[in-house]
Amino acid sequence: MTAVQDREWESLSATWRTPLDPVDAGWVRALVDRHTRRLRLVVAMEALVTVAGVIVAVAVMVSGRTAAAIGWGLAALAHTLVVAGFTAWNRAGVWRPLSEATRDYLRLARERCLRQRRAAWILGGLVAVEGAGLALWALTTETDLPRTTWQLVIGLAVGGPLAWSIWSGRSAGRRLVRLSGIEQALARVA
């Protein structure tokens, strides 16, 4: 670099470093605290929903005491435990990168996308199978509820999670493509 270019660079650097509003460390730490609390709240809510699912399933079995009630309770219990178990297993090992190296961050990001896609397809598939079972049951069983109510309940219970599953899987796929683009861009300048 010539002296002129170096001076130009220094000028750019000075422009670049034009002070922004000062960053208050206390404010940043409050943000971090809030973020930490939010994560804990999400984990607590998930645990709460799982416990609630188990309680409801057991309550259905105990209060009904009929074959149908026990069947429904067991199905709800199995669903709750499968979803909770799968979620815990699917999240294992992707909390933080192995080191602060770029390759480990990119590897972690890729792994998270793959896990998200797996969760989307597996949970989506589970809900679809359960929905099909429910629909079959509703069609072949005489109940007090009108058929349109059943159709609406099954449609909402299955359609919502399925739509989420498709969106989530496709979103993870798009992120994987962007990650590949970033890796290629880094490799090009290496």
Binding site: M1, V4, Q5, E8, W9, S11, L12, S13, T15, W16, R17, T18, P19, L20, P22, V23, A25, G26, V28, R29, L31, V32, D33, H35, T36, R96, P97, E100, A101, T102, R103, Y105, L106, L108, A109, R174, R175, R178, L179, I182, A185, L186, R188, V189, A190
Partner: protein, 168 residues
């Protein structure tokens, strides 16, 4: 929060908080994106602090986390070329060699954002005043590689700034 971790975190934010915000601005395509990313970087820094063994300076450590978070943040965001172009719109005329002093930060930031991924990183770090040795440490590359990459990146940046200046 342990007081040692807290003190170290406060020290890094006080010394390099503004630089980390500028870093976030090079990866975020909108001010809101940059704010989100800055918060993510701070959170990642807080979580990573216990693993900091002092092999590098705190600044190097913070920038490394910042850039790595920036890269993964970009993968999560849809590219928004229109917004970048908006940021780049510049009314000041003349080539960069004549108008350097008049360049505002927005224009420079817009050009930095348009750099190739690896080039953006070295340029940002160099503009922050890091020497080649530290840039190499942040990016996990050799010092020679950092120097070569910076030289190419400066050429690319100059071309972008000239292009914008000429096009105004």
């Amino acid at each position: 929060m342990s007081s040692d971790r807290e003190a170290r975190f406060d020290r890094i934010i006080a010394a390099d908080g503004a630089a980390l915000r500028r870093l976030a601005m090079t990866y975020g395509q909108t001010p809101a994106d940059a704010d989100d990313l800055f918060q993510e970087i701070c959170f990642a820094l807080w979580r990573a602090l216990p693993s900091f063994r002092g092999e590098s300076s705190e600044r190097t450590f913070a920038f490394r986390i910042g850039h790595n978070r920036g890269l993964t943040f970009r993968a999560r965001r849809r590219p928004a070329a229109a917004e970048i172009d908006h940021q780049l719109r510049d009314e000041s005329p003349g080539p960069v060699s004549l108008a350097t002093a008049a360049l505002n930060r927005e224009r420079l930031l817009g050009a930095v954002r348009r750099l190739a991924e690896g080039h953006r990183q070295v340029v940002m770090l160099s503009l922050e005043g890091l020497p080649h040795t530290e840039i190499a440490q942040v990016l996990g590359i050799t010092e020679n590689n950092a120097a070569v990459r910076l030289s190419r990146a400066r050429t690319e940046l100059r071309a972008l700034l000239d292009e914008k200046g000429a096009g105004a």
